[in-house]
């Protein structure tokens, strides 16, 4: 079985915070590939660099944070090397984004219609106002917003959190992008709404063949729908592979710790096992393997950064002492 060529390849992406002449690395050698229609979950604690990775791909990094080296190849073009105007033509059109908090991501002073129509017109200059409004209405209906025509006239504060996030998703899907980056899009919502939105969004993406990067700190949530998973720690991808393998047989001690600290995923009858210590702060990341101080398998060899290398057929981990057994998953 041959895999289709990836649509988005992030390779050796280094992002730093420049202060004066000093550069503080925030993302280090981040690499992953996304195939068309695939759902990639990126998981990590807050500060692990997962949201920053999304901003870097979208070209939304704000100075003094910037890409130092590496490439973001989308359909063969390096987005990091394109000028702002060229990237803008891709943003919202071929790669779209959904943010975490729908209360913050819609402009409170503009009608839903204004915010949708401007998105349409930004990439489709010939579109008349009337046609754009019609498209906006249809897009709202697709994501399950009832009375769409009425909602178009509403302001964001007149909608519930779930409805607002549906509007954001509808906006992201307006131009049928090849890739949608969703940065914790359900975290700010009620649990029941979370499940609904997740379901609808993944189904729509599968139906349209849209590849999805779903960023989350919630591994058990990701494990229910992602095709592949990247685990990030201290600005680095430390393990990646097919969802079943990463969840079922995590190789990196951090991935394993992450899974065992989730009550629902820990083995039945056993206590949850929190990872000791705290993740390092930006600028204070230890040399070598950043997880070393918290790792019970660490050895002197870990003073050198282990490369992300293949440990099983499709699974890679950045560790000199990877696990090679499966986790006992409760039946």
């Amino acid at each position: 079985m041959s895999e289709p060529d990836p649509i988005l390849v992030v390779s050796d992406l280094n992002v730093s915070l420049a202060s004066g002449k000093r550069m503080t690395p925030i993302l280090r050698e981040v690499s992953f590939a996304l195939r068309p229609g695939e759902i990639l979950g990126i998981v990590g604690e807050s500060g692990s660099g997962k949201s920053l990775t999304a901003s870097a791909i979208m070209g939304l990094l704000e100075p003094p944070v910037r890409i130092v080296s590496g490439a973001v190849a989308f359909k063969g073009r390096d987005l990091a090397a394109l000028d702002e105007k060229a990237v803008r033509a891709i943003r919202g059109n071929e790669i779209a984004m959904v943010f975490q908090d729908p209360a913050m991501s819609l402009n409170p002073l503009l009608r839903i219609e204004t915010q949708m129509v401007e998105s349409i017109v930004a990439h489709d200059r010939g579109c008349s106002r009337h046609a754009a409004r019609e498209r906006a209405r249809a897009a709202l209906e697709t994501v399950g917003v009832p009375a769409a025509a009425k909602r178009l006239r509403a302001y964001p504060h007149e909608l519930s959190g779930g409805m607002r996030q549906r509007v954001s998703i509808a906006i992201a899907m307006l131009h049928s992008p090849a890739v949608i980056i969703a940065d914790e899009p359900t975290t700010a919502l009620d649990v029941t709404i979370q499940a609904q939105i997740l379901d609808e969004m993944t189904q729509l993406c599968r139906k349209n063949g849209t590849a999805l990067i779903w960023i989350s700190h919630d591994l058990s949530l990701l494990s229910s729908f992602a095709d592949r998973i990247c685990v990030m720690y201290a600005g680095r991808v430390i393990e990646s592979g097919p969802c079943g393998e990463v969840i079922g047989a995590p190789r990196h001690p951090y991935s394993r710790g992450l899974i065992l600290s989730v009550p629902a995923m820990a083995r039945a009858g056993k206590d949850i096992e929190p990872i000791p210590g705290y993740p390092p702060r930006v600028g204070m990341v230890p040399s070598g393997c950043a997880f070393r101080p918290r790792c019970h398998r660490a050895s002197p060899a870990c003073a050198v950064q282990p490369p992300l290398q293949t440990v099983a057929s499709q699974q890679s981990a950045a560790c000199f002492h990877p696990f090679d057994d499966k986790l006992q998953v409760p039946a």
Binding site: R91, A96, F99, M104, S105, Q115, A122, H157
Partner: protein, 327 residues
């Protein structure tokens, strides 16, 4: 909307009556105008006759009721000094003050808003740091000192502009206006600029802070993620959100300038109502002082109502009338 305005008018009437009463008693405590109105060598009988003529011989409560009764008929009393209806005396001087106040506010907005936006968008450049430093001076230097200094610089030393007065005026609707003639504009520029500096600095700082805050908001990042052009993000997404507090500030500032541009009017011999107020306080001319402050309060309330209307037009989360609505 209607109930909002009705409520506002009721509030305004209450505030105006309360102000009128307070000022009425306060001026009574300060002194007796009859003593000042007549020369030292006027006989006691003459002064007494004057007191009776002005109604100052009556007990205080009776003077107060006469005054309040007059108010209900739209009569604010006659000026002791000018012998004419107080309101008429003030209204004659008011257009000059209004003209100066509006000119200074327009100047402040035209200068402060764009500079504030610039500093908010480019906070790290040397130019915006320089602008911020000047604006820090602008909010801290006293207006009267600025007035004297720019008069010294532009009128006395450089001889570019006149030192005072209204210059040539053009009469429209029975009122003389300076801003309609070139010479009048030249006379208007210095006093307006000295009043505008403080306001412009404040507007600038408010706009800069607002811009920096709004730029950090997710909706601006989302707009960028949608591929919206930077121009539209600035003029539609950012500016609208920055404007709301600035509108409030401009309203307050306009009210303050109309009511209390007294010092600047004195420095530039601008024949406005502020100068009239000072003279009337010295002369214990109670009807003028009371009427002036009532008018000032009314203008304040009017401007604030107008600001609220604009605010509601900008921000859909603000609803008029309801006390507790939105976030």
């Amino acid at each position: 909307m209607i109930s909002f305005l009705a409520k506002r008018i009721m509030q305004a009437v209450a505030v105006v009556l309360a102000t009128a009463s307070m000022v009425f008693f306060a001026v009574f405590i300060i002194g007796d105008p009859a003593q000042l109105l007549y020369s030292q060598n006027a006989s006691a009988a003459e002064v007494e006759a004057a007191r009776r003529y002005l109604g100052l011989d009556l007990p205080l409560y009776q003077q107060y009721f006469n005054f309040m009764g007059g108010l209900l008929h739209g009569d604010l009393g006659r000026s002791f000094v000018y012998g004419k209806p107080a309101l008429g005396v003030i209204l004659q001087r008011l257009p000059a003050t209004l003209e100066l106040a509006f000119a200074s506010v327009v100047l402040a907005v035209v200068v402060g808003l764009p500079l504030g936006l610039y500093c908010g968008l480019n906070p790290r450049t040397i130019r915006s740091r320089l602008i911020m430093a000047v604006s820090a001076l602008g909010v801290s230097l006293p207006t009267f000192w600025i007035g004297i200094i720019i008069m010294l610089a532009f009128a006395v030393n450089l001889r570019l502009l006149p030192t005072g007065g209204r210059g040539n005026t053009l009469t429209v609707l029975g009122v003389p206006w300076s801003f309609l003639t070139i010479d009048g504009l030249r006379h208007l520029l210095l006093p307006a600029a000295s009043l505008a500096l403080w306001q412009a600095s404040l507007i600038l700082r408010l706009t800069r802070a607002g811009t920096e805050e709004v730029l950090r908001q997710d909706y601006v990042r989302f707009a960028r993620a949608k591929g919206i052009a930077p121009g539209r993000i600035l003029w539609v997404h950012v500016l609208k959100n920055v404007l709301a507090p600035v509108v409030t500030m401009v309203g307050l500032s306009l009210g303050g300038t109309i009511a209390f541009s007294i010092v600047t009017e004195s420095i530039f011999s601008w024949p406005g109502a502020g100068k009239l107020l000072i003279d009337s306080i010295y002369a214990f001319d109670r009807p003028i002082v009371v009427a002036y402050l009532m008018l000032a309060v009314t203008i304040f309330v009017l401007i604030n109502t107008f600001v609220d209307l604009i605010y509601a037009a900008i921000d859909p989360r603000v609803t008029l009338g309801a006390a507790d609505s939105g976030s």
